[in-house]
Subunit: 467 residues, 2 copies
């Protein structure tokens, strides 16, 4: 076997990425093995070709107790970009191992928004120590960002941007950009401002590149622009970026002055987070991050389970009203979870659709009654179908047509109730300025459970089924 074949075999045993661009278990194990064997250089050699985002991933998938040793071995590769890409929980734990000066050193290399993301999660005294260790300019910028509410545009924006006056020509602009070495290097648009530093237009770089040097900026810039108030919520910011297809946007203070810029790459993370959050919120899973410490997950989830326990007790007390009925016909106890369960699922479907439509601004005050009517129609169709199926099954299995009619009627009623609850609960919460995802699921399930039991057992009692 030639040397090159050997190398090929070695590479085949440990390809760093699988076909979905995730680090392979074999590669991660190889790196960790070398660290454990004290072969830090070998570990660095394996990691060297990786993108900062992959190095961040490496820490995330490595077992918690082995991350400090890994960090020591890879110390020289742990630059600011790696920390910026790392999961919040993993980063926090790693930063805890570093002293304030090392953290300040990392933060100082980042754009304001990334630096703020790292510093905002630190404990208060650690945060103060890091801020003291920063150089004054960076410190002022980060302190100002921290003065804005969490998850607001002020935290998301970076201060590094290019702003020019409209009386320049394209040639002036090119000369200015080429001759000022300390300008930021990564930007996608240039903002044109008036003497009071208020944005009056935006220049797309592609237009600047295609325009002769003699043309005035005022003739190339786009005057219509989407300005982001500095205190706007990040979810709202993300919706603007999507709606208007923005690449970057100017952030303005209350006086309308340009104070920062938000770029679309930061928005991608937010859209991912906010859109994915709904599924976590609906189930009460809190932040729902697999890197969150177990006790934090416990605290977030148990709260919701206790509330769920309370609502389950409501449903349970409804059943207890009908103990006599059940005593006379135990089959009712066997069947009642079906009515409640399918109703719950139908309610969750409507709820999911409604929560998504609200989150994407598709469902507004203008069309909400139409949406409610639509869900009632879908519920009637679903309810009728499921009612016929379960009614026939029960009639045949129990040889009791009246029992079939009772469960079919209860099922239809509960699915319609589920549809109503699924659309009205989030709409009401939205109207009360509450998050329509957070508490919706519990109200909807309580409704479908309680009403399912009540309608089914009530009909059984009233219909003379149990004599």
């Amino acid at each position: 076997m030639s040397e090159s074949e050997l190398a090929a075999t070695d590479a085949a045993v440990e390809p760093s990425h699988d076909d979905e661009d995730r680090l392979t278990p074999a590669f991660v194990a190889a790196v960790l093995d070398r660290v454990e064997a004290g072969d830090d250089e070998g570990a660095r050699a394996l990691v060297a070709p990786l993108h900062p985002a992959d190095i961040a991933d490496l820490f995330e998938v490595a077992p918690e107790e082995r991350r400090p040793a890994l960090a020591t071995a890879l110390a020289e590769m742990l630059d600011a970009d790696v920390f910026a890409e790392m999961n919040d929980w993993v980063r926090e734990a790693l930063l805890d191992e570093l002293d304030a000066h090392q953290v300040a050193d990392i933060a100082g290399q980042l754009d304001t928004d990334d630096a703020v993301a790292i510093i905002e999660d630190l404990e208060e005294d650690e945060q103060r120590a890091v801020l003291r260790a920063l150089d004054p300019d960076d410190r002022a910028a980060i302190e100002e960002a921290l003065s804005y509410p969490e998850e607001s545009a002020g935290r998301l924006m970076q201060r590094e941007l290019i702003a020019v006056r409209e009386n320049m020509t394209v040639g002036d602009l090119l000369d200015y950009l080429r001759s000022n070495e300390d300008l930021t290097t990564d930007f996608w648009e240039i903002f044109v401002v008036d003497p009071a530093h208020r944005p009056i237009g935006t220049l797309r770089l592609s237009w600047v590149l295609r325009t002769p040097r003699t043309i005035q900026l005022a003739d190339v810039m786009q005057r219509e622009q989407t300005l982001i108030p500095v205190d706007m919520d990040q979810e709202e910011v993300a919706l603007r970026f999507q709606k208007y297809g923005l690449i970057s946007a100017a952030v303005v203070d209350q006086a309308g002055r340009l104070v920062g810029m938000i770029t679309v790459d930061d928005i991608l993370h937010i859209v991912q987070e906010e859109a994915g959050e709904d599924v976590l919120k609906l189930s009460g899973a809190g932040d729902g991050d697999i890197n969150e410490p177990v006790l934090d997950s416990y605290r977030a989830r148990v709260r919701w389970l206790v509330v769920n326990l309370a609502t389950a007790l409501v449903a349970s007390s409804i059943i207890s009203l009908f103990e006599g009925t059940i005593q006379r016909m135990v089959a009712l106890a066997t069947l009642m979870p079906i009515v409640a369960g399918v109703g719950g699922n139908a309610g969750t479907q409507t709820l999911a659709v409604t929560v998504r439509a609200l989150a994407t601004n598709q469902l507004t005050r203008t069309n909400r009654w139409r949406a409610v009517m639509r869900e009632i129609r879908v519920a009637l169709l679903n309810g009728a179908t499921i009612a016929v199926v379960i009614g026939l099954c029960v009639s045949l299995v129990f040889q009791n047509p009246l029992l079939g009619v009772v469960i079919a009627t209860a099922m239809l009623a509960n699915i319609v109730i589920a549809g109503l609850a699924g659309v009205l609960v989030p709409l009401t919460l939205e109207r009360l300025k509450a998050d329509p995802a957070v508490a919706s699921s519990i109200f909807v399930t309580m409704t479908t459970d309680s009403m399912g039991f009540f309608v089914f057992l009530g009909l059984a009692a009233a219909s003379g089924l149990v004599g």
Copy 2:
């Protein structure tokens, strides 16, 4: 009252947007009223200041039966950009009203990706008619895009891009861009290709702008780049954009040749869709769009409800095993839904966390056993807490300590079972190359329902509680 005050009052009555940038009901009503009154010009005057995305929104929130008249009134404003921003269902219905030449006219003005998005949803014969009506170049580009699988990079990409050779200087590039009028105007990066048209580097426009004319492109370009294979799934493409913070990326065919470009503004929509889809899939709500026709929603949802009915029958048949036990102590029928319900919620929490972690590539083969152990720990903590609470409540209310012990034990067991099901079901589906969101919820709920009933009623029977 002066005229200007009157105008101000009028504006106050009908501001077009609310503070979250959604069209107000009053504004929508005003537009629709004018259309109904035959005052098309008045309607156009109101709509004129709107962004194309807002005009698209106007159609979405207008009642379905009034959209054709609205389209007639606003015909001259319904340009390609408006259609590109419109919800798929609403657009499809509107396009049905137009003939093939009108559709071709709209598609011809769009970038390939937007044109494909419009044409791919048409009925097959309508699609053929539109393609025939397009000019040959557009037609070839769109037909090629349609030859790639749905939701692949080939459908997402636009062919309009700037590609140059590396032997140019920055000055050559500027002259080329300024002198070629038929080049695309909106681009964020320039691709450098070799003689075989394979991408070898990327130029950020900001770097080009800051570099003197005499410098070679080869010295400015970034050689490391993320290339997107033309058949890559759009979800995968979106993950690459997020991971590497891309603004645009080159799409290559199997021979590695540059065939198109994907830009981040198209990715935002995909991230929103894919991340939001999980909540819809978990509940079986299909596409879950409030603009979807009622019958389509019915078909999507009822399928899932029928499956849910079948799994509910499994749980029901478990209960029927214990009819004798329930007969002797009806309180068991009252309490059993609590064990099943809270277990179901705990399972859904774990499921939501797992599905999100899988979707964002945070949970991989490398760390999956750690994730399972983590969920078991959280489940033990949650289970112990809820067990103590429900055990004490039931002991006191029913004055029956043994009943308290039975329900507490069953609750602890079911919450641990729920945690296991919540993490193992999606991991198993992922391993079988199935979508971990689609069928997970039903398996998890079936498990928590069946096992909740079985453990609780089984313990009640075995413990001698019912004598």
